[in-house]
Symmetry: C2
Subunit: 196 residues, 2 copies
């Protein structure tokens, strides 16, 4: 095996440092949404100068953390079987989405505080597209109500998932109970109205 | 009329300045959730030193803006007639809550970004208490489902109102359509399950 050129090694080191910083930030922000850049540098075992060399602000770093988290989430969500009766598929998709949301703990709050509404939307494009396909299929099949805009249903589902994450962080519910509440609430929101 | 003591005048001026800064911040943050302290000082017609004399950080100022906004909201919400059939009362209370939430525009986002989950909860104690009383009455009367924790129903309603505020700010719905969607969604969340 050839010895790599010094520059290649440096670039590889830099990539490893950046990855280590993103990993450390993911761990720390999951516990403490207000963790500072200094805290994150310490957790990553790098100096602040090194950290600033990769990420020029807390917002830039959090954006990178969210991108990495969403990429991992995407690889798990793409395993969910989307075939079958729409309500059953929705149950599976919500359960997987909640597992992933909950695993990231307070990172959800750090992201909501640090990123703009547009950037958060941007980061969720793939889960949104998957949810949209399922909602369209369920609406056509008469299993979900279609008298509300799709965009409203999608953001309501996201808001319920993120609200559950904050409620669990505040200690109001266990993660398991929150999972059941998410399912019951979202299915109630989507159920075709029966009239009174 | 006696001439006020110089110190009294100074204190009165300081109170007026603080009120002018809070008013200016309320106007500006409603349009731009990322408005800086320098922007707010300019809008209020005071120097940055004066502003920092009253509010030592952006978070402190936003907390004061939210307190003032919630106090005004409280005086309007307390006019809502809470007697009568719970579903009808809920419609009235949601309509008034949405009018107030929407009037504050992007301030909702500024507050969510700047304040902790606990501080936001603290600021909403009176509307939460009112909503709780109505939910308890509707649950006892069998008009709202009681197989979910009250705290979950309350935060879900808040999340739906705040999510609507962000969606209107992004231009996805008109305020009137958002009001209808809030009502339909919250009533669906609260309706006792009928079984399939």
């Amino acid at each position: 095996m050839a010895t790599p050129e010094p520059n290649t090694t440096k670039r590889a080191d830099a990539r490893m440092n950046a990855a280590a910083i993103v990993d450390a930030a993911t761990r720390l922000l999951a516990r403490d949404p207000d963790a500072s850049l200094a805290d994150i540098a310490r957790e990553a075992g790098v100096g602040r100068v090194t950290l600033y060399g990769h990420f020029d602000s807390r917002a830039t770093l959090i954006a990178a953390v969210v991108d990495a988290a969403m990429a991992r989430a995407e690889s798990e969500l793409s395993d969910v079987d989307l075939d079958g009766e729409p309500v059953e598929v929705m149950r599976r998709l919500l359960a997987a989405s909640w597992r992933l949301t909950h695993r990231h703990g307070a990172l959800v709050q750090a992201a909501e505080k640090s990123l703009s509404s547009e950037d958060l939307h941007e980061a969720h494009l793939e889960p949104i597209a998957r949810m949209r396909t399922l909602l369209e299929r369920g609406r056509s099949a008469g299993r979900f109500r279609d008298d509300m805009p799709l965009a409203w249903q999608i953001t309501t589902i996201q808001d319920i998932l993120h609200g559950a994450s904050r409620a669990v962080y505040r200690g109001e519910h266990t993660p398991d109970v929150a999972g059941e509440l998410i399912e019951a609430t979202v299915l109630a929101v989507l159920a075709p109205p029966t009239g009174e």
